[in-house]
C-alpha cells in the first residue's frame, strides 16, 4: 500500500481518539464544577424532596460513568440532549447558531487568509524595506488592540460617521445573502484585523526560512525575478507551516469570537454558550464544548494532512 494512505489513516484515527479524550475531559470538567443545576432552577427556597425529584428527572442521581455513556451514546446519534433551563432540544437550537458562527467565520477567512498570505509574500519581497515595516507595524498594532475596542472604533467611524454598514449584526433566515453580508461586514473587518498579524508573520517567517536554502540561490542564478522565485520555489516548500497557522486561526474564528458576537449582538454560538454558562445549563455547555473541540481537532487534522500531502518525499517515495 502507498505509505501515504497508512499515514493519513493514522492521523485520522488519532483525530478520532483525541475527540474521545476531549469528550471525557469536557464531561469530567463540567461534572466537578461546584453548584447544582436543580438548585439553580428551583431557587434557594426549594424543599429537599423537590430537589431530589428534579435530580432524578434529570438523571443526575446516576453514577458518573453511566451518565457519561448515556450522554456519549446520545451524541453519537446526533442527540445532544435537552437544555435544562428551557427544555428545548439542544441540537435544534444549536444548529442555527452554529450555522451563523460558521457563516461569519467563513467570510472572515475568505478575506483574512488570502490577504495575510499576500501581505506575507509582499513583506518577503520587500524585506527590511518600508513595505515590510509598514505591514509589520500595522498588523502588530491591530493584534495588540483588544477586539471590542476595534469593534467600537469601527462602528463609530465606518457605520456611524460614514454610514456604510450596519452597526448591529443581527441576521435571520429571511434576509438575502447581500443583506446578511452587509450586516456582518464590520464584524468580518474586526476578525480580519485580529487574525491577520499572526498568519502574515508566520507566512513571512516560513518563506524567509525557505529563502535561505541553496535551491533559492540556484533560482537566483537562473536569472529569475524575485516574485517568481518566491511563488515557484519558496512558497511550495513553505505550505506546511503556513497551513498550520491558517488552521489555528480558522479555529479561533469559530471558537474565539465570543467577544465580537457580544459587541455586535450577533446570534452565534459564542453568545449562546455564554448565556448558558451563566445559567449553569451543563448539557448545553457540554455540547458547545464538544463542537468547539471537534472544530479544533478537525482543522488541525486538515493541517496535518496538508503537510503530509505536500511533502514530495511522502507523495513520491523512492
Amino acid at each position: 500500500m502507498h505509505p501515504i494512505v497508512t499515514l493519513v489513516a493514522q492521523r485520522v484515527a488519532l483525530g478520532v481518539l483525541l475527540l474521545f479524550a476531549a469528550s471525557i475531559l469536557i464531561f469530567v470538567g463540567t461534572s466537578i464544577l461546584p453548584g447544582d443545576v436543580a438548585q439553580s432552577i428551583l431557587g434557594q427556597s426549594a424543599t429537599p424532596e423537590a430537589l431530589a425529584n428534579l435530580r432524578a428527572e434529570l438523571g443526575m442521581d446516576q453514577p458518573p460513568l453511566t451518565r457519561y455513556f448515556t450522554w456519549l451514546g446520545g451524541v453519537l446519534q446526533g442527540d445532544l440532549g435537552t437544555a435544562l433551563t428551557n427544555g428545548r432540544d439542544i441540537a435544534e437550537s444549536l444548529g442555527s447558531r452554529l450555522g451563523n458562527t460558521l457563516f461569519l467565520a467563513f467570510w472572515a477567512a475568505v478575506v483574512a487568509v488570502p490577504l495575510a498570505i499576500f501581505l506575507g509574500l509582499l513583506a518577503v519581497r520587500y524585506k527590511d524595506r518600508w513595505p515590510d515595516r509598514l505591514i509589520s507595524a500595522v498588523t502588530l498594532t491591530t493584534i495588540s488592540i483588544p477586539e471590542f475596542m476595534i469593534g467600537y472604533v469601527l462602528i463609530y467611524w465606518v457605520s456611524i460617521q460614514m454610514g456604510w454598514f450596519s452597526s448591529v449584526a443581527i441576521i435571520n433566515d429571511s434576509m438575502s445573502l447581500g443583506q446578511k453580508l452587509n450586516a456582518i461586514a464590520i464584524p468580518v473587518m474586526v476578525l480580519t484585523l485580529v487574525v491577520l498579524a499572526h498568519m502574515m508573520r508566520m507566512t513571512r517567517a516560513a518563506i524567509l526560512n525557505v529563502m535561505q536554502s541553496a535551491y533559492i540561490e540556484t533560482a537566483e542564478l537562473k536569472g529569475l525575478g524575485m516574485l517568481r522565485i518566491i511563488r515557484k520555489h519558496a512558497f511550495p516548500n513553505a505550505i506546511a507551516p503556513i497551513v498550520n497557522v491558517v488552521m489555528l486561526n480558522l479555529a479561533y474564528l469559530v471558537v474565539g469570537v465570543v467577544v465580537v458576537e457580544v459587541v455586535f449582538a450577533y446570534p452565534g454560538m459564542g453568545q449562546y454558550l455564554v448565556d448558558h454558562v451563566s445559567k449553569r445549563d451543563v448539557p448545553v455547555v457540554q455540547a458547545c464544548g464538544l463542537i468547539f473541540a471537534a472544530v479544533y481537532i478537525g482543522l488541525n487534522l486538515v493541517a496535518d494532512l496538508v503537510s503530509i500531502l505536500t511533502n514530495p518525499r511522502l507523495r513520491h517515495p523512492k
Binding site: 535551491y215 540561490e217 540556484t218 542564478l221 536569472g223 513520491h316
Partner: protein, 545 residues
C-alpha cells in the same frame, strides 16, 4: 587571438562579518585578481577554503553570496562590464550566458519540483528555447551525462535519484540553456571517489562536446588537473600562481603551489601486531530498527595497542555504524566486542565509567561536537572533572598541558569555538578525547571537513600523540590517501561487510579483489591524463571479461 569570453581586472570583493561580541565590520576577501578566459577553455581555480575561489566564481555572474559585495574592478563577459550593467541585463546573463553548478546538488535542487522542470526552467525563462526544445535538449544531455533512463529520469523528484546522478542532473541544468560559460563550484567534492570519477568523466565529456568555457573551482589539485587547460592558484584572496595545467603540476614555481602538489607527504612505518589486541570485534551483525536488512554483516577485526586500524569505504558502507556499535550507541544483534581483555556490554547505558573513559571519540564536524557557549578550557576540563575529579589549579595545569600537546599554547584557554579555525577546533576535540587518557580513540572522518594542508597537520599530530600516549586509533575514512598516511592495518568495507582486511602492506598490494581495485584506481592522481588512462584501462578490462 580571439577576444576573451571572461575578462576580470582588479577584482576586489568585500564582506561584512559579525565577530562574536564585536561590532560588524567590513573586510576584504579578494584583493585584486586579474585573469582572462578564452571561449571554450577551462580554467581551474584552486585553493583552500577562504581563498576566495567560490567568491570569484560567483562574481563572474555578478553575484555575491550573503553579505558579500564586489567593491572594485571590472568583470567583462563577452566584452560587456556586468558590474556596471543594469540589473535587468544581469538577470539575462545569469542562467543564460553564464550558469552555475554547485557543490551540493542535493541542496541546490528544489525538493518540491520535478527534475525536468528545474533543468529546463532557465532555458525557457531566458527565451533561449521553447519548452519542447528545452526538454529534448535536456534528455539529450541526460544521455550524454550517462544518466540511466534519460527519457524519463526528468519526471522524478530530486530525492528519487542518487547523489552522483543528481550532480549530473545539475550539470545538465547548467548546460541546458547553451551558456557560454559554466561555473563548476566543487562539483565532485561531496561524492565518493568511485562516483566522483564517473561524474568527472561525464563533466569533462560534456564540456568538450558542447564547447562551453568553464571555471572549475576545487580544493583538489589532482581533480582539477584532469579537466582544465589552465590553473590559477589562490591563497587568502590573492593569486599565487597562474599557468598551464602541465606547468602547475609538473613545474610549480611558488612554495605554496609546491606544498599543494606534494601534500600527503607523511610517511608512516607500519607496526607489527602484538599478541594482545586492545580491541577485538567478533562476528558483529547489526541493523537499525525499522530497516529490513543488516547494516553490518558478520564483522571481524582486531586493533593492537598503540596502532591504527583504518576502516575505509564509501558512504553507506557501514563504517560509522561499526563505530556506533563499538561505542555502545547501537547494540548489535549478534557478536561480541572485547576491549582490553574484557567483554563490553552491548548497550552504552550499562557500561562502567572506566570503559567509557578508555574509549573516546572524535567526530567529523568539530563545529557541532562542541558547545558553542563554552570556552576551550571548559570543554577540555569537563572530562578531567568527570573521570579524574580534578579541580582548581590542578585542572588548569592539566588543561594547559593538553593545549601544549595539541600545539595551541597560551591564550586559547579562554576562547570560544567560534574564535577558532577549522583545524584548531579539531585540535581541541583531540585534546578533549586525550584528556580522558583513553586506550582507544575512534576517529570518524576527522579530517574530511578540513583543507588538505590543515588535514595533514592534524594527521601528523595524531601520529605524534600516538607515540607519546600509546593510544590506539580506529580511523574511519573514505579517503585512501589518509589511510596510506597513517594506518598499520586496514579493513575495506563494502555494503556492510569487510571485503579486505590485513596489514597495510598486504591490503594495498596486488592482487586486489574487484572492489578494492575499483576503490584504489578511482583515487585521482596528480598527473595529466590520469582520468583517460583509468577509463581506458577499465574499458579494456570490461571488454576482456
Amino acid at each position: 587571438m580571439t577576444d576573451p569570453l571572461l575578462k576580470i581586472r582588479g577584482l576586489k570583493i568585500g564582506a561584512t562579518i559579525y565577530p562574536p561580541g564585536e561590532k560588524a565590520r567590513e573586510i576584504e576577501i579578494v584583493h585584486g585578481v586579474d585573469f582572462d578566459l578564452a571561449p571554450g577553455k577551462v580554467l581551474g581555480l584552486i585553493g583552500e577554503s577562504g581563498a576566495g575561489k567560490s567568491t570569484i566564481g560567483l562574481a563572474s555572474m555578478a553575484y555575491g553570496r550573503g553579505g558579500v559585495e564586489i567593491t572594485d574592478g571590472t568583470v567583462e563577459v563577452n566584452g560587456r562590464d556586468i558590474l556596471k550593467a543594469p540589473f535587468r541585463d544581469v538577470r539575462r546573463l545569469r542562467g543564460g550566458e553564464v550558469t552555475y553548478v554547485s557543490q551540493s546538488a542535493a541542496a541546490s535542487f528544489n525538493p518540491a519540483k520535478q527534475i525536468m522542470e528545474q533543468v529546463t526552467e532557465a532555458a525557457i525563462f531566458q527565451n533561449k528555447f521553447t519548452k519542447a526544445q528545452a526538454e529534448a535538449r535536456a534528455v539529450d544531455l541526460f544521455r550524454k551525462l550517462g544518466l540511466p533512463e534519460p527519457e524519463t529520469i526528468g519526471n522524478r523528484y530530486p530525492h528519487q535519484v542518487s547523489g552522483g546522478q543528481l550532480q549530473r542532473c545539475m550539470t545538465a541544468l547548467a548546460l541546458c540553456p547553451e551558456p557560454d560559460l559554466v561555473v563548476f563550484d566543487e562539483p565532485t567534492t561531496a561524492l565518493d571517489v568511485t562516483t566522483q570519477i564517473d561524474v568527472l568523466a561525464a563533466i569533462k565529456e560534456a564540456i568538450r562536446d558542447t564547447g562551453v568555457a568553464a571555471l572549475y573551482i576545487t580544493h583538489d589539485l589532482a581533480v582539477v588537473a584532469q579537466v582544465s587547460d589552465h590553473i590559477m592558484v589562490l591563497q587568502q584572496g590573492a593569486m599565487v600562481e597562474y599557468g598551464t595545467t602541465d606547468q602547475i603540476i609538473n613545474d610549480p614555481q611558488e612554495d605554496y603551489t609546491r606544498a599543494l602538489v606534494s601534500v600527503r607527504s607523511i610517511r608512516h612505518e607500519e607496526k607489527q601486531p602484538t599478541n594482545t589486541p586492545v580491541l577485538r570485534v567478533e562476528n558483529i551483525t547489526a541493523r537499525y530498527s525499522g530497516l529490513s536488512f543488516d547494516v553490518l554483516k558478520n564483522i571481524n577485526v582486531e586493533l593492537h595497542p598503540g596502532q591504527t586500524l583504518a576502516v575505509v569505504g564509501e558512504s553507506g558502507s557501514g563504517k560509522s555504524t561499526l563505530a556506533r556499535v563499538i561505542t555502545g550507541l547501537l547494540p548489535p544483534s549478534a557478536g561480541r566486542i572485547t576491549f582490553d581483555g574484557r567483554t563490553l556490554t552491548p548497550d552504552l547505558a550499562t557500561r562502567p565509567v572506566e570503559d567509557l573513559r578508555e574509549l573516546q571519540m572524535i567526530y567529523q564536524m568539530a563545529d557541532t561536537a562542541m558547545n558553542p557557549r563554552q570556552t576551550v578550557g571548559t570543554i577540555i576540563g569537563r572530562p578531567l572533572e568527570f573521570y579524574f575529579g580534578l579541580r582548581g589549579a590542578e585542572k588548569q595545569k592539566r588543561i594547559q598541558e593538553l593545549l601544549d600537546e595539541i600545539e595551541l599554547g597560551d591564550g586559547f584557554i579562554d576562547r570560544y569555538p567560534a574564535e577558532l579555525s577549522g583545524g584548531q577546533k579539531q585540535r581541541v576535540c583531540i585534546a578533549r578525547a586525550l584528556a580522558a587518557k583513553p586506550k582507544l580513540i575512534i576517529c570518524d572522518e576527522v579530517t574530511s571537513a578540513l583543507d588538505p594542508l590543515v588535514a595533514d597537520g592534524i594527521l601528523k599530530l595524531l601520529l605524534d600523540l600516538q607515540k607519546i600516549e600509546d593510544v590506539a586509533y580506529l580511523f574511519i575514512t573514505h579517503d585512501l590517501a589518509t589511510v596510506r598516511a597513517i594506518a598499520d592495518s586496514i579493513a575495506v568495507m563494502y555494503q556492510g561487510s569487510v571485503v579486505r582486511y590485513g596489514p597495510k602492506s598486504q591490503v594495498l598490494a596486488p592482487p586486489f579483489d574487484d572492489y578494492t581495485d575499483l576503490l584504489l584506481s578511482s583515487v585521482p592522481e596528480m598527473k595529466l591524463g590520469w582520468l583517460e588512462e583509468v577509463l581506458r584501462h577499465r574499458k579494456m578490462e570490461s571488454a576482456g571479461h
